[in-house]
Symmetry: C2
Subunit: 121 residues, 2 copies
DNA sequence: CTTGACCTTGACCCTGGGGGCAGGGTTTAG
DNA sequence: CTAAACCCTGCCCCCAGGGTCAAGGTCAAG
């Protein structure tokens, strides 16, 4: 299959597929005319990458999952490295939420302050 | 004062000062040799921009605050436009927190799932 | 006068995950 | 034969600057 077929089958854009390749996540063969050729397995890989990116992982962080798939597993997240990646990401998200919560409080304080200052004057 | 003095006084890098200028937040005069010259007021502006950026506003969103300062106010956030900007930003942060919370739950589910699958097999 | 230290200038490439466009080659259907 | 649909590479854009470069200005000491 060509890049357009893969993109359609996996639900991403052609641009995204080429980007994944530039990040080393795909290594398609080339036809004599230069067109990229993909296998059915690549569809699974692209779907997985898409799902992981939507969870906020970076392209680089999807590596262990793809390796897990390539190693012959049905699921990308059953390898120890994948579990570690999940836990790392959860910790990141928790830190983010904590920071944003703090930020929210700061903003609310500033707003209250500014409002009070206005009514005072 | 020159750009280095301004940067030191406001606690930012020279690079940041030039970036603020490129975003239209500063308009320094130039000496005959091309050096930028800043006033004491600019220190206040840069400090304000720095503070607002650290609250997650974009450079563009700091515009109303700077205008408020330039209009002669002691505080940048006492103008109506500033209050609106605060409220907008708070709403953004709230949306972010909600999304991240949802994401966190998804990740936790996936992790649990993957762990259970492993013990099952 | 010259050296060195320190300051400034503009200009270039980099970040992440692609979007958008240009300009061209290829393939397939009518 | 031609048009549509597909593919290729390559360049610029986002955001808030960071890093580095090559050049030139300024001021003091020697």
């Amino acid at each position: 299959m060509h890049i357009g077929d893969l993109a359609a089958a996996a639900g991403v854009t052609i641009k995204a597929v080429r980007y994944y390749e530039s990040q080393g996540l795909l290594k398609p063969r080339r036809e004599p005319n230069g067109y990229r050729t993909y296998s059915a397995e690549d569809v699974v890989v692209v779907r997985e990458v898409k799902a992981l990116l939507s969870l906020g992982l970076t392209a680089e962080q999807t590596y262990p999952f793809i390796e897990c798939l390539r190693a012959g597993n049905d699921r990308a997240d059953v390898c120890p490295a994948s579990l570690t990646a999940y836990r790392t990401r959860i910790a990141e998200v928790d830190r983010w939420i904590a920071e944003l919560t703090e930020l929210r409080a700061k903003l609310a304080d500033l707003l209250t302050d500014a409002e009070n200052w206005r009514t005072k004057v």
